[in-house]
């Protein structure tokens, strides 16, 4: 059967394929439309808005000491008025009970919250990513050991593990980031492992092997670039999760001891009395935190769709 018929065979199948969704669609009540697949290959305007917001927050956080904003710790008592002050041209986000400016506190809070989020996910990426890649590349015993470690880590609800460790340590910026980083090792590692496995048997890896490339070279030169792309999407999502986790820890009294974080700012405004008198104390950081988490989630989601990362691996 080595004649032109074979080519026709392919064509026929194509045509048949194109009708399959039509016929299969007969079972749905409404037509699905192809909008989902159409938008899938573009990042879209929403993605860039999200990235813009993240960039703004990060810039503000980094430049906080040099920005023309009030001292976040100064008690700016207004003559003749008792704090807390509601939002005004003087205090954009209002002030707390100690007459400290919520706007500048929110920006300074971003410094710690974003650092925690960034360091945590960076740790997870480096440690979890390399563990997962090793497991996925070498398989065998390495794989079973690493997989069991991941399983143990995942068998705790993450927050419980964080509580366990943070309650035993001095809660500095470093330790909190470290703990949240440990928590992200397993989820990140699993994706790295699954992605590596899916690439480890591809032709280009086999070709490198057959040319006598050593393992480290193959991992770094051939596999890493392919694993990094889906991991980037995961990093954004992971950063959002770490920022939220810091907030949760703050509510349990387990956040960074020195300095304001978003979680601690919200906590100070979350008491019944504060909510009655001065809801802005908690609402301002909530809104900024929510927008940031939303932007990270959205950008991560778009990236994941864009690179078509399988959700099952997560």
């Amino acid at each position: 059967m080595n004649d032109p018929k074979d080519i026709d065979h392919v064509h026929l199948d194509e045509q048949a394929q194109s009708l399959v969704p039509l016929i299969a669609g007969a079972s749905t009540f409404h037509d699905e439309g192809d909008t989902e697949t159409a938008t899938k290959r573009r990042l879209g305007i929403g993605f860039w808005i999200a990235i813009g917001w993240i960039a703004t927050i990060v810039t503000a956080a980094v430049l906080a000491p040099w920005l023309p904003i009030k001292d976040p710790d100064a008690n700016l008592i207004q003559p003749g008025e008792r704090p807390p002050y509601s939002p005004s041209s003087e205090f954009w986000f209002g002030s707390d009970q100690d007459a400290r400016d919520m706007f500048s506190r929110t920006i300074w809070g971003a410094r710690i919250s974003l650092t925690v989020g960034f360091v945590a996910i960076a740790f997870g990426m480096v440690v979890g990513g390399s563990m997962g890649m090793m497991a996925g590349y070498f398989r065998r015993r390495w794989d079973s050991v690493v997989s069991f470690i991941f399983l143990v880590l995942l068998s705790f609800p993450a927050l419980i593990l964080a509580i366990l460790i943070t309650s035993l340590m001095d809660r500095t910026l470093f330790t909190i980031s470290f703990v949240l980083g440990v928590l992200s090792v397993a989820p990140v590692g699993r994706v790295a492992r699954a992605t590596t496995i899916s690439f480890a048997d591809r032709e280009f890896v086999l070709a490198a092997k057959s040319l006598g490339a050593k393992h480290p070279r193959i991992i770094v030169r051939e596999l890493l670039p392919n694993v990094v792309i889906p991991m980037a999407a995961l990093a954004l999502l992971g950063m959002a999760i770490a920022i939220v986790a810091e907030g949760s820890l703050a509510f349990l009294g387990l956040s960074v001891e020195k300095g304001a974080t978003w979680g601690k700012l919200i906590l100070t405004g979350a008491g019944t009395r504060s909510l009655e008198d001065a809801p802005w104390i908690s609402m301002a950081p909530i809104i900024v935190l929510f927008l940031t988490v939303l932007a990270l989630n959205f950008a991560g989601d778009r990236l994941r769709d864009y690179f078509d990362v399988k959700e099952t691996a997560l």
Partner: protein, 363 residues
């Protein structure tokens, strides 16, 4: 059985002066991003009570969409026009809510892949009794007894035990028998069988076709058998309709068709019937070229671009359905098999050793 109240649709069979099912100029279009797909384009046919009709064509010829269009089982986006009369009643414009009283009760369908077509999480008994309770208001024990009888009708051994089994516990052939039992449950007057044997082993294929035929005779039921395989319709249908590119291109009593086929396309299909020495499930891909694009169909005869006998006229003018010697035999071709033009071209091709002409094929 004279007349039966089926929901709000009054089906009276006593005064049926016309055939049970009459399809007139039926078209089904799907709007897509690429344009409108004309999956079925002006098809007319009819079928009498107790008759069986084979609808034959390649994949993509529109035969499956045609059968589902007649029954009304299409996605919401599909646009149908023309007319479908069932027992004298126009059913094309009936909403799904009212069609539901016909589905399962008066018309039923058997699908290609029995494993996917049966609910994997529901016991077989429940799947058979579901329409019985729905349409015939049977109580549980009555429905169960009927289910056992139905399973026996389609020759499933140990019928009682099967009721408590799940589809995955049965063989492919058994599953398809169960599908048929479900379709037959409420005694429909028309059974659509959409490639009922394609997913099955060669050995069980003819058994399944025999069961369908047997039940057709027993129940005086009409059967519409959709298949890509002319070999399947040969022994099991009274009439054959050949579809190409969404159009009906030839229609005749089965015997007449095989004795005296007019369309070169039908002839090509004929050549692709699996011979004994071919591996099973040999595709119809042996016709060179590809089926027409249903969004932008070619001018003239839709088969012309692939037809070895096509002449200028075929590419420009669309041939109407013409009547052959047998008044029940219609075909859409300018130069049908047996015409002087066809014979002349045939001789030329044979002399040139064209691969599209099978030297051995003599009809």
């Amino acid at each position: 059985m004279t007349s039966r109240e089926t929901g709000s649709v009054q089906i009276s069979r006593a005064e049926a002066t016309e055939p049970l099912l009459v399809v007139d100029n039926l078209s089904t279009h799907f709007p897509t991003e690429r344009g409108v797909v004309r999956a079925v384009d002006g098809v007319s046919l009819s079928i009498k009570r107790g008759e069986s009709l084979g609808i034959v064509g390649e994949s993509g010829s529109g035969k499956t969409v045609l059968s589902r269009s007649i029954m009304g089982l299409l996605p919401a986006a599909a646009i149908r026009s023309g007319s479908v009369r069932f027992a004298g009643t126009e059913i094309l414009d009936l909403p799904a809510k009212r069609m539901r009283h016909l589905w399962g009760a008066e018309m039923a369908m058997v699908f290609q892949n029995p494993l996917n077509s049966l609910n994997p999480l529901m016991k077989i008994g429940k799947q058979i009794t579901e329409p019985l309770k729905l349409h015939l208001n049977m109580n549980r024990s009555h429905a169960k007894a009927t289910a056992v009888r139905l399973l026996k009708d389609v020759h499933i051994p140990e019928a009682e035990q099967r009721l408590n089994q799940y589809p995955h516990e049965l063989s492919g052939g058994m599953r398809q028998r169960v599908m048929i039992a479900i379709a037959l449950a409420c005694g429909p007057t028309v059974l659509f069988a959409d490639e009922p044997t394609t997913a099955l082993d060669v050995t069980v294929q003819s058994q399944i076709l025999d069961v369908i035929n047997e039940q057709r005779t027993d129940r005086n039921m009409s059967v519409i058998l959709v298949t890509h395989d002319l070999g399947v319709v040969a022994g099991h249908t009274d009439h054959v309709a050949v579809m190409y590119g969404g159009k009906l291109v030839e229609r005749a009593p089965t015997r007449t068709l095989f004795a005296n086929m007019k369309m070169p396309y039908t002839k090509s299909l004929m050549r692709s019937i699996p011979k004994l020495d071919n591996p099973s499930h040999t595709r119809l891909a042996t016709i060179p070229g590809r089926p027409p694009d249903l969004v932008n169909p070619p001018d003239g005869c839709r088969f012309a671009p692939r037809c070895a006998y096509a002449q200028d006229r075929c590419h420009d003018e669309e041939p109407p359905l013409a009547v052959a010697d047998d008044p029940d035999h219609y075909y859409a071709c300018w130069y049908p098999v047996g015409s002087p033009e066809f014979e002349a071209r045939d001789a030329e091709l044979r002399a040139a050793g064209d691969p599209r002409v099978d030297a051995g094929a003599t009809i």
